[in-house]
Symmetry: C2
Subunit: 337 residues, 2 copies
DNA sequence: TTTATCTACGCAAACGTTTGCAGTCAATTG
DNA sequence: CAATTGACTGCAAACGTTTGCGTAGATAAA
């Protein structure tokens, strides 16, 4: 154990603990001379304040929690980058919790977080989550919450999202203009607002171009890639007329590639694919994948900024602080005519 | 602020704080009846112990810190998955710190961590790091440390690594057997042991097959993808005879693809590429990338297990607990004859 | 009965920090 | 000279939890 604490410094300098504490905080109540002495010794002994004592006393932890479904996903890892960047600049620490899309884990995690461990929370809801009681409970306690991407509308707070309806529309329209007439929609979060928005965009585009909406062409995936590939294979087999796939999540696009390869369906000649994705190597795939790319890094940054600003000003976060960023469509060979 | 604390519970139940605390810990000193009453009220009021008070008193934080260069990298994100998995099972929380391969950030982070914020640390050293004074300082304070992948040999503790020398040899041999005679080696951590091991494997293979070692064919990359692509392009232009690339890091393989595409060099006909990588879509690239794949998830799990075991038993971690896992070579079209 | 043992609970200190308040000493003012 | 001010510093409480020790009452043993 590290026993370099204020008491130790105070003893060695023949000062009181209070003065040492104030000196290290550059309080105006301490003479320049004393400050120097204190700081010199602190540096020499490599003093680092005990975070827990400080947090306990000040009721501030300088820590934020990030609750996300998974980290092995380009969207979330880029978002974490943005979050960590902002947090570090403001001297905040980042606790990471993964739900693995599992509702029970999400509940357990939010329960932990009511313990005052964090000053604020950035969260992207698990796809399985359908009830929000745990989030309401969480909000009832101290920490401020900002949702990003997978938001929860039942909680009155700020959200950072992208223009999902438009993007869903745009993606579908892109496939239609490339000649697709039987477009499947693969998603993973049908019960979350983000999933609904994209789905509505998909439906709106179909309607605008006079194509029927066929519920059987909507596939609900999960976190298991093998299962997803099997589901997609089954769909393509059952409905051989499918000539376009709009994937709402990166992993479903990958599974679609595998399914098409397995069935010998040529991309883009027989099936065109477009997907929400932050895959850096999308352009190097065979064929290069057309993507709707969300500004993941910026989303992380902006969400963290809103959160930290609220924490520092001790003001509640208002829904009016919500932000909607724009995704971008990158046309590549997987949707070529 | 959440004011449901032991005091509150004690008052409502007409018990002392001590008894309430003990009841919640299932202490044998409390009657079954009282335990029930306490737990019932705790559940009703959604009591969650204050983590900071508890940590301060017990000098245990139930938190580990993970210090890695970046998260937007399949190796590290898979490793985090493994770490988080093990930590969660044991009731530990995970603080994430990113160095962005920057030495100064690494120093600042290790300084934070001397403050007793964490019980243990899992670390993969930044490629820039050449001095280890900050790590020695860190080790002098409480927290246990386990290194994984990018290890530091100067610190006496356990490491979880892969068979890097063998893999470097194997990768190079694979290229030679595929017909390459002028093999470039791209790396990012030449001054770290991991980089040296792979490099030695590379050199050993060259020697065994009677090929000369040409220092000009060794390229030291960094964290900037555009710069790396430019460097590789320059190398391929200056040395048009290069017919094989052995990349020590995923991002350098990606940059190699871009460089080759830019120069119109055909993969694998003119240049064959093999890389250390955990890229899930390696098989879907154009052409599919031959990889040496490290068991990233297991590395994370094993490192976390060693760390947590040591923390729980309060025993120091010995270098003899180090683990070497095996990487696997996946042959794909990027190295086809 | 006395003594010992056991059960169930409370008192109070301790963890290391922050901070309101009070105090000391010297310098300044009336 | 007394009174006031201001610059520094110290005392001690507080944050919420854990835990060594003490104790009251009950039961068992002597």
């Amino acid at each position: 154990m590290n026993s370099v604490n204020l008491k130790r410094l105070a003893q060695e300098l023949n000062l009181s603990i209070a003065t040492v504490s104030r000196a290290l905080q550059d309080s105006y109540e301490v003479s320049a001379h004393t400050k120097e002495r204190v700081k010199a010794l602190a540096a020499e002994l490599n003093y680092e304040p005990n975070a827990y004592a400080s947090s306990l006393r000040r009721n501030i932890s300088k820590t934020i929690g990030v609750v996300i479904p998974e980290v092995n996903n380009h969207f979330f890892s880029l978002a974490i980058n943005g979050i960590e960047e902002v947090a570090r600049q403001s001297g905040y620490h980042v606790l990471i919790y993964l739900t693995h899309e599992d509702y029970d884990r999400e509940v357990a995690i939010t329960q932990y977080l009511t313990g005052g461990r964090v000053d604020g929370i950035l969260m992207s809801v698990a796809s399985e989550t359908q009830e929000f009681g745990h989030l309401l409970k969480l909000q009832a306690t101290k920490p401020a919450i900002v949702f990003f991407d997978r938001v929860c509308d039942s909680i009155a707070t700020a959200q950072v999202t992208t223009n999902d309806f438009e993007s869903g529309f745009q993606a579908t329209e892109h496939l239609i203009q490339a000649g697709c007439r039987h477009i499947a929609h693969l998603l993973v979060s049908g019960n979350l607002s983000i999933g609904r928005m994209r789905m509505q965009g998909y439906q709106a585009a179909l309607q605008q171009y006079g194509l029927p909406f066929d519920e059987a062409l909507v596939l609900d995936g999960n976190g298991n890639d093998e299962q997803n590939t099997a589901l997609i294979t089954a769909l393509l087999t059952a409905r051989p007329e499918v000539d376009g796939i709009f994937a709402s999540v990166e992993r479903l696009a990958i599974s679609s590639y595998h399914a098409c390869n397995g069935l010998g369906r040529a991309i883009p000649e027989q099936v065109k694919i477009i997907s929400f994705s932050n895959l850096g190597v999308a352009a190097l795939l065979d064929p290069a994948l057309t993507t709707i790319t969300q500004p993941a890094y910026e989303i992380g940054r902006e969400a963290a900024k809103i959160l930290l600003r609220a924490i520092e000003k001790k003001k509640p976060i208002l829904p009016t602080q919500s932000l909607v960023l724009k995704s971008e469509l990158f046309e590549r060979r997987s949707t070529a005519k």
